[in-house]
């Protein structure tokens, strides 16, 4: 069986001008290889090749305990580290029927949204770079620093903060937590309009993004494109809204939906989501209840035999965790349905027939994080 090599059925003709974009390429944002077939400047088809950063997280999970798995999930979508942790925690808590304290729910939700803000800021920065507007990178990162400082103060780490633990949080947040967040929100409410001034209204940007890579709602659903990319096509897929977890059922917010489905719509969804995230945080940050930072948990967590499924909304879409347990302290099988994996494979549908520059714009607007694809 293993000797059998499956031949690709796309026959590459000799005249095809094939460019391997990646694994080292400035705008693939990681080690992704896109096999791009060109006719002049026009893209004929794209075959994504992945696996350059495959670490076998699912296999590793079968050998380690649930507390340890949390730390692996950080390394999947490193820009939504907190949401990844939360997915596993929620799944384990549901399986054990543990009710986490209200304080934990509030803090988790705030951190989710902060992480989403940080992720969208980085996306905005890198998206501008993809389109050749190099200045956006520094504007985005300047503001992202503020969030990372809040993270550092509370968790001790800036990017991969395995702050969630099954049953609650690793430890309580820093006393400055609320003040830091409030300062940031007041600051960022002034700075976010700058983003629009710099990029959104630009004529060249509008021309580059409008009507490029149009994805219909049906296509988004068929290809499982979730998150802001899916919502730009009118696919109402915000799990925070229709399958609320943590404290999302306690806050008022709008699901951002655009129906155009082009690159500009995906861009606008993320820009509006930043405003919504700030709204959510503002509703929660003053009302964090006092209490324990974790529920009482046994030191060794053993899930009852069975299958558990939990979905959360990360910054890039729907992350689903599927645990098959046989009653041991390690999972029998663990599957992560990562949003980027599905989002990547719609690329051929969107970019084929366009120009190379459009391909870059589209891959930027899908906001891919490669370690999440490879896992």
């Amino acid at each position: 069986m293993s000797e059998e090599i499956i031949k690709n059925i796309i026959v590459r003709e000799n005249e095809d001008y094939i460019i391997n974009m990646g694994p080292q390429h400035p705008s693939t944002h990681g080690v992704l290889r896109l096999e791009v077939c060109l006719q002049g400047e026009t893209v004929k088809y794209i075959i994504p090749h992945i696996g350059y950063i495959h670490r076998g997280i699912e296999k590793m999970c079968e050998a380690i305990t649930y507390q340890q798995i949390i730390h692996l999930t950080d390394r999947m979508d490193y820009l939504s580290a907190h949401m990844n942790n939360e997915a596993v925690c929620l799944c384990v808590e549901n399986a054990l029927q543990v009710e986490v304290p209200e304080r934990v729910k509030y803090i988790r939700t705030i951190l989710d949204e902060l992480n989403r803000l940080a992720s969208h800021q980085l996306w905005w920065s890198a998206f501008g770079m993809d389109l050749g507007a190099l200045t956006t990178f520094f504007y985005g990162l300047r503001d992202r620093e503020m969030i990372l400082d809040i993270f550092e103060e509370s968790f001790g780490s800036r990017l991969l903060h395995s702050f969630n633990a099954p049953g609650g949080l690793m430890h309580d947040v820093h006393p400055n937590f609320q003040k830091g967040i409030k300062d940031f929100i007041t600051y960022f409410r002034k700075k976010l309009p700058e983003y629009d001034q710099l990029l959104t209204g630009n004529v060249i940007f509008q021309q580059r993004a409008k009507g490029i890579g149009i994805m219909s709602r049906e296509k988004a659903i068929a290809y499982g494109v979730t998150g802001p990319s899916g919502r730009g096509s009118g696919f109402s897929c915000d799990l925070r809204k229709y399958a609320p977890y943590s404290a999302y059922d306690k806050v008022q917010f709008n699901e951002i939906l655009y129906t155009e489905g082009d690159t500009l719509a995906r861009y606008k969804v993320r820009m509006d989501e930043m405003w919504e995230s700030m709204n959510i945080i503002e509703q929660l940050v003053d009302n964090i209840p006092e209490g324990d930072y974790t529920a009482k948990m046994k030191p060794i967590i053993k899930l009852p035999a069975g299958e558990y499924f939990q979905r959360v909304e990360t910054a890039r879409g729907e992350l689903a965790v599927y645990i098959v347990s046989d009653g041991n302290k390690t999972p029998y099988r663990m599957k992560f349905r990562s949003p980027n994996f599905s989002n990547l494979f719609v690329m051929n549908e969107l970019a084929a027939g366009g120009k190379i520059a459009d391909l870059i714009a589209i891959s930027g607007s899908l906001d891919l994080v490669i370690p999440d694809i490879d896992r």
């Binding site: 390429h25 050749g132 190099l134 520094f138 580059r208 520059a357 459009d358 870059i360």
Partner: protein, 364 residues
């Protein structure tokens, strides 16, 4: 002309050097010595200018991006680019096995020679110009478009797909935008009635063409700015080296000093188009004068003509940098649409309007 007579004329200096040399040696030797002298001065100037422009670009971009820019090596980081140059000189020249070696090595020289030739006709100050051709504008246009040959050679001979696409883009782009640059310069040639660069500068003694030439001259200036930015492959028209699409475009495979040549040529080209723009539209080394304000005009005359030239040139350079660091890049088809559907017809109509204005004698 009376008001400009106080400006120091460099031709007295160059004339005295010429006379002194003639006293010492035969006319043939004098010519050789002068050529060597001018060549040496230009080489030094060229290298220093390139380094300074790179420094300036980094500082300007740092200002746009909320950061400091180079500030460690030397005072205010002024020596940073020299350190970078030394680094580039010491870098290994990576040989490309399947490249066409001769053309691969030739390409950077063509690019740099083209920019070097263009700088020869630039009037830096009153009487300070290496060659004052009577077809100066035409010469600069012709020579500066030679650079594209080097770019095409570089892209083709690298035997890299990215390079080839970059070179082809660059070819299409420069061939298109050359027309608009030419037509916008032609507008001022029509106004001033001469192609000689020194003559164009002299014709602006009573006011720069951008002010004297009504709206058509201003339109020409804008078209010139856009088209020349495109011609020198700078953002937002840097499709030839679009680093997010083609990694580095035509110079992907170059390293070390050969890469430095492309790099330097790009910056010098920027200086050249800025110098041409300043000379033709903003009065070159002519001081800023306002109508009959004799006292004001007289004070302005005391600022050396060279300072005026460089002020104006770096103003245009700053404009070009400003574009680059705030605009996203265009797509290739949008780039060509902009030229053939908008800039080109506008400049053609503009020329006709200007010809009419000049015919009726409506300009100042």
């Amino acid at each position: 002309m009376s008001s400009t007579s106080t400006i120091y004329d460099f031709s007295t200096l160059t004339g005295s050097i010429d006379a002194a040399l003639h006293n010492w040696m035969s006319p043939g030797l004098v010519l050789t010595a002068e050529l060597v002298l001018v060549g040496l001065i230009f080489l030094t100037f060229y290298a220093l200018l390139g380094l300074f422009l790179v420094y300036l670009e980094r500082k300007v971009c740092a200002v746009m991006q909320n950061r400091y820019g180079p500030n460690r090596v030397g005072p205010l980081g002024l020596l940073q680019t020299i350190a970078d140059l030394i680094k580039l000189l010491m870098k290994e020249l990576i040989p490309i096995r399947k490249a066409d070696q001769f053309l691969f090595n030739l390409a950077p020289f063509i690019v740099i020679i083209a920019s070097f030739m263009a700088i020869a006709a630039t009037p830096f100050a009153k009487g300070l110009q290496a060659v004052d051709l009577n077809i100066g504008v035409f010469y600069v246009m012709a020579v500066s478009s030679l650079g594209v040959v080097g770019i095409l050679l570089a892209g083709w001979s690298s035997n890299s797909k990215y390079s080839l696409i970059g070179a082809m883009r660059s070819g299409a782009q420069i061939v298109s935008y050359e027309l608009s640059v030419g037509l916008s310069l032609l507008a001022i040639v029509v106004f001033s009635g001469t192609m000689q660069l020194s003559g164009i500068v002299e014709s602006q003694a009573d006011g720069w063409w951008i002010f004297k030439g009504h709206i058509p001259a201003f339109i020409s200036f804008v078209i010139f700015l856009v088209a020349s930015t495109a011609e020198i492959n700078r953002g937002p028209f840097d499709l030839a080296e679009a680093e997010s699409e083609l990694t580095a475009g035509f110079h992907t495979e170059y390293s070390g000093i050969k890469f430095a040549f492309f790099f330097l040529a790009e910056y010098i080209n920027m200086f050249i188009v800025a110098a041409i723009g300043a000379t033709v539209f903003l009065g070159g080394w002519m001081p800023f004068h306002i109508g009959n304000w004799e006292a004001f005009n007289h004070v302005m005359d005391f600022i050396p003509s060279m300072v005026w030239f460089f002020l104006k040139t770096f103003f245009v350079v700053y404009l070009i940098m400003w574009f680059k660091w705030t605009f996203p890049r265009l797509r290739i088809d949008q780039l060509l649409t902009l030229e053939w559907k908008y800039l080109m017809p506008i400049s053609l109509i503009n020329i006709v309007v200007i010809a009419f204005i000049v015919l009726m004698g409506w300009h100042f």
